[in-house]
């Protein structure tokens, strides 16, 4: 311990320059800051307006758009917004990223060619029906590894991290994780998952795609007119988007595994997750080729399907599987789902993984 540390009383002046620093009355400081903020607002308003547009439908979004609209229009009229847009173009920040900013993206190493099918598929344990997609390879090797793509939202990150690591630990799988916080299929204006997935499929050329997504989807589709969550029209549109996304994931011949949402601590959110799961499960059975839906509902909940922050694992140990927010998964919770997917690959899909 630094017993001889110098005594600290308050932030010290560090040199003679500190005394030469000019002070100012608070009113001048206030106006300087307000003027700087206003100038920044004028320069940055189009970006702020875009961020407001892609935020959840509600009063806050409406007010923000009303306030920012005239400022952004002025910025564009004066060509001031070009400073930001040109900078974004120069730094390559114009791609498909949430809110047009940086986010969590984990990309795996380089990819290898697919190999021929080796063994037919078997029956699934947690699936809505027997898996029917024939995997391209079931005996991957270090020289010719299985290519797995994992995509999802923040719960997809919670599951995808441990899964990516567990798959990499087999030594015969190259796993790519592309998961984004606060994303889903309801708001492509915020983050366009179909576009992102197309890019992932092209670059990773996966033989297995694992998807865990939906926690952010219980929200209105922005209009006009807005389509409220839980309305019949919402259900139809959401089912269409899920089906299209599933088909896109399997369009290259990959086996698709969709991991359902677990129960949530908040009863309303939990009911919403149940609704989302129902749509996902239904579409998994309807799309062609069918998608393997793995339910996490009772695995990360009680036998009755209620929320459970702690579960007892096969060794009889108590493990904390949920974070205190009652939504996300702890690393141990992610590991539970990782094992669910791994067991499904090894069992019903007959992949031989060390």
């Amino acid at each position: 311990m630094p017993e001889n540390a110098p005594p600290q009383t308050a932030e010290p002046e560090t040199s003679a320059d500190a005394t030469t620093r000019a002070r100012a009355p608070w009113t001048r400081v206030l106006w300087t800051c307000v003027a700087a903020f206003a100038l920044w607002l004028l320069l940055f308003a189009p970006t702020l307006q875009h961020n407001a547009q892609v935020s959840p439908v509600g009063t806050r979004r409406t007010v923000a758009l009303d306030l920012l609209g005239p400022i952004a229009a002025t910025s564009r009229a004066l060509q001031l917004s070009r400073i930001v847009s040109e900078t974004d173009a120069l730094t390559g920040r114009t791609g498909n990223v949430p809110g047009n900013g940086a986010a969590v993206t984990v990309i795996g190493p380089g990819h290898r060619r697919a190999t021929l099918p080796r063994r037919p598929t078997g029956k699934g344990g947690h699936t809505t029906g027997p898996p029917t997609t024939v995997p391209d390879i079931t005996h991957p090797t270090a020289a010719d590894p299985l290519r797995v793509l994992i995509v999802g939202d923040s719960l997809g990150i919670d599951m995808g991290g441990p899964l990516q690591n567990d798959l990499a630990n087999t030594g015969v799988v190259t796993a790519t994780l592309d998961a984004r916080e606060s994303t889903g299929l309801t708001r492509p204006d915020y983050f366009n998952w179909p576009v992102e997935l197309q890019g992932d499929l092209a670059s990773a050329r996966p033989q297995v795609v694992v998807i865990m997504m939906g926690a952010n989807d219980p929200q209105d589709f922005p209009g006009p007119p807005d389509i409220p969550f839980t309305s019949p029209a919402w259900n139809v549109m959401y089912a269409q988007r899920v089906a299209a996304f599933m088909q896109l994931a399997g369009s290259g011949g990959a086996t698709v595994i969709w991991v359902g949402m677990p129960p949530m601590q908040n009863p309303q959110l939990s009911a919403e997750m149940s609704d989302v799961d129902a749509v996902d499960q239904q579409q998994a059975a309807l799309v062609h080729p069918p998608v393997n839906f793995l339910s996490s509902w009772t695995l990360l909940g009680t036998a009755q399907g209620a929320y459970a922050p702690f579960i007892t694992n096969s060794a009889g140990e108590v493990v904390n599987v949920r974070t205190p927010d009652g939504i996300h998964l702890t690393p141990a919770g992610g590991e539970v789902l990782s094992q669910l997917v791994l067991n499904f690959l090894r069992g019903p899909l007959h992949f031989v993984l060390p």
């Binding site: 311990m1 009383t9 308050a10 932030e11 620093r21 400081v29 702020l48 900013g101 940086a102 969590v104």
Partner: protein, 475 residues
């Protein structure tokens, strides 16, 4: 409420105006600052405010009781009960879940079943920080280093929003006198304040976010997927990330307080230039380091006893310091590593003195080697600090030794530049920064407005949308 948000910008504009308008009226000023601080804290969830009220009440009653108690035994008892109350709150909210799982698993192994009820207790943001401030307040009164404060002063001392969420851990004798006197509204040290705020925002929003997304998260998430070089850069990158995140927060907090006419203690002093671990803890999270020294290490006996007792005291202090950060074995290992490193340094220094050996002459090579080795040891600790579990930490460390000869696409020239540049930037003398602040303060208002807006534009343009919360909010 997070500092780098639109909500906070509006909040602070109101707080700044109210602060100076009510400055001539101490009573209304204090009440308004308390109200604003509670709004700031309650922005996430109002229930948290009740805990802050409870902490303030325990500290106030404790301070009054200690001060009124006659005789050393009663004073000590009153102080002990007050500290137990404060630590009880912290323990319940922060450690119950961790302890219950570990106790249950232990009793299960012994065949005693699950002995403790399992409850998931939500950790209120900032509880570790204001609990430590409340503890220091009661103990300082017990030590007769501080007079008990009036309830309104104590409430403001504990809740004052610039330090509330993640420090600095300001002591009573530093802040309470400032809250009692009027500030000079014609002499705001705005150049330093604005510099600190902009530098803090840049570190947090641009550097920390970039390094986190570019290397730290990918490698810590799946170490087995990454090469040895990427693992090394992930550890170095986390050193940069947490420094920019936490010192960035602190810079903003100090700058905001300065705009309100209040001075906070410094919390960071170029920590990666440290030449040994003792030196590191004089430069990293200084207000926590001195808290642990004054309220734990020295009461345990410090270094005044035998070598064995000193080593024990260092280990206890650092392990508990690790646990302060979070209820997980990774933090225990992190604290133990720092304790072990300091204990070895202490024993070596004592050994030299005992054998009558002269101090080793400092040369540039020796200084740089010491700095390099200290930084590597600190990074080793950071691996445990950031890991999701011990197995995750060992997996990453394993890759450092086994993952060579593989491609390292995440180690880009930009990443190397940012990581190395951030560490090297700590060698810039603070006098140069002071000169820049002085030069800024002498500019005309129009120039200042232009520079400030350009700085903001740079930060918001190069930073991500939706900045992640500060790492130390978790503690």
């Amino acid at each position: 409420m997070l500092f780098p948000t639109f909500d906070f910008a509006i909040f602070f504009a109101i707080a700044f105006t109210v602060n100076w308008l009510l400055n001539p009226y101490p009573g209304p000023w204090k009440l308004s600052m308390i109200a604003l601080s509670y709004v700031f804290y309650g922005w996430v969830g109002w229930s948290y405010c009740l805990l802050l009220v409870a902490t303030t009440a325990i500290a106030f009653i404790g301070g009054e009781t200690v001060n009124a108690a006659v005789g050393e035994t009663r004073r000590r008892l009153a102080m002990g009960l007050s500290c137990a109350g404060l630590l009880g709150l912290l323990g319940w909210f922060k450690y119950y879940g961790f302890l219950s799982v570990n106790i249950d698993n232990f009793t299960h192994v012994l065949g005693l079943g699950h002995a403790v009820p399992l409850l998931q207790v939500a950790l209120p943001i900032a509880i570790s920080f204001y609990t430590f401030m409340a503890l220091s307040y009661v103990i300082d009164i017990y030590r007769r280093q501080l007079e008990p404060a009036r309830p309104v002063d104590l409430a403001l001392y504990l809740s004052f929003f610039p330090h509330l969420l993640a420090g600095p851990i300001v002591r009573g004798h530093e802040l309470l006198p400032q809250l009692r006197r009027k500030r000079d509204p014609r002499s705001v040290d705005y150049a330093r304040a604005l510099w600190l705020i902009m530098a803090g925002l840049f570190k947090k929003v641009v550097i920390s976010s970039y390094v986190s997304g570019a290397i730290v998260q990918p490698v810590f998430t799946a170490p087995a997927q990454h090469s040895g070089l990427e693992s090394v850069f992930a550890a170095w990158g986390y050193a940069v990330q947490i420094y920019c995140d936490f010192s960035g927060y602190t810079d903003i907090a100090i700058g905001l307080a300065l705009l309100l006419g209040i001075r906070f203690p410094v919390n960071f002093d170029a920590p990666y230039t440290a030449r040994n671990l003792q030196d590191f803890w004089r430069r990293w999270h200084i207000t926590l380091s001195r808290w642990l020294r004054d309220y734990l290490y020295i009461p345990l006996g410090g270094s005044s006893g035998s070598e064995g007792r000193t080593v024990r005291n260092i280990m206890i202090t650092m392990v508990l310091g690790g646990l302060w950060h979070g209820a997980a074995w990774t933090f225990v290992v992190w604290g133990a590593l720092h304790g072990l490193g300091q204990a070895v340094g202490h024993v070596r220094r004592r050994s030299r003195v005992r054998r009558g050996l002269p101090a080793v002459a400092d040369g540039p090579v020796r200084i740089w080697v010491q700095r390099f080795l200290t930084f590597q040891f600190v990074c080793l600790g950071w691996v445990f600090f950031n890991a999701s579990g011990l197995s995750n930490a060992f997996a990453l460390l394993g890759r450092v030794f086994s993952g060579w000869g593989r491609p390292s696409p995440l180690v880009t020239p930009l990443l190397v530049l940012v990581v190395v540049g951030t560490v090297v930037s700590q060698l810039v003398p603070s006098a140069r920064v002071d000169r820049l602040q002085a030069a800024f303060s002498r500019q005309k208002a129009g120039v200042q407005v232009g520079l400030l807006s350009l700085a903001l534009l740079g930060i918001t343009t190069f930073g991500p949308v939706g900045v992640a919360p500060f790492i130390y909010y978790r503690f």
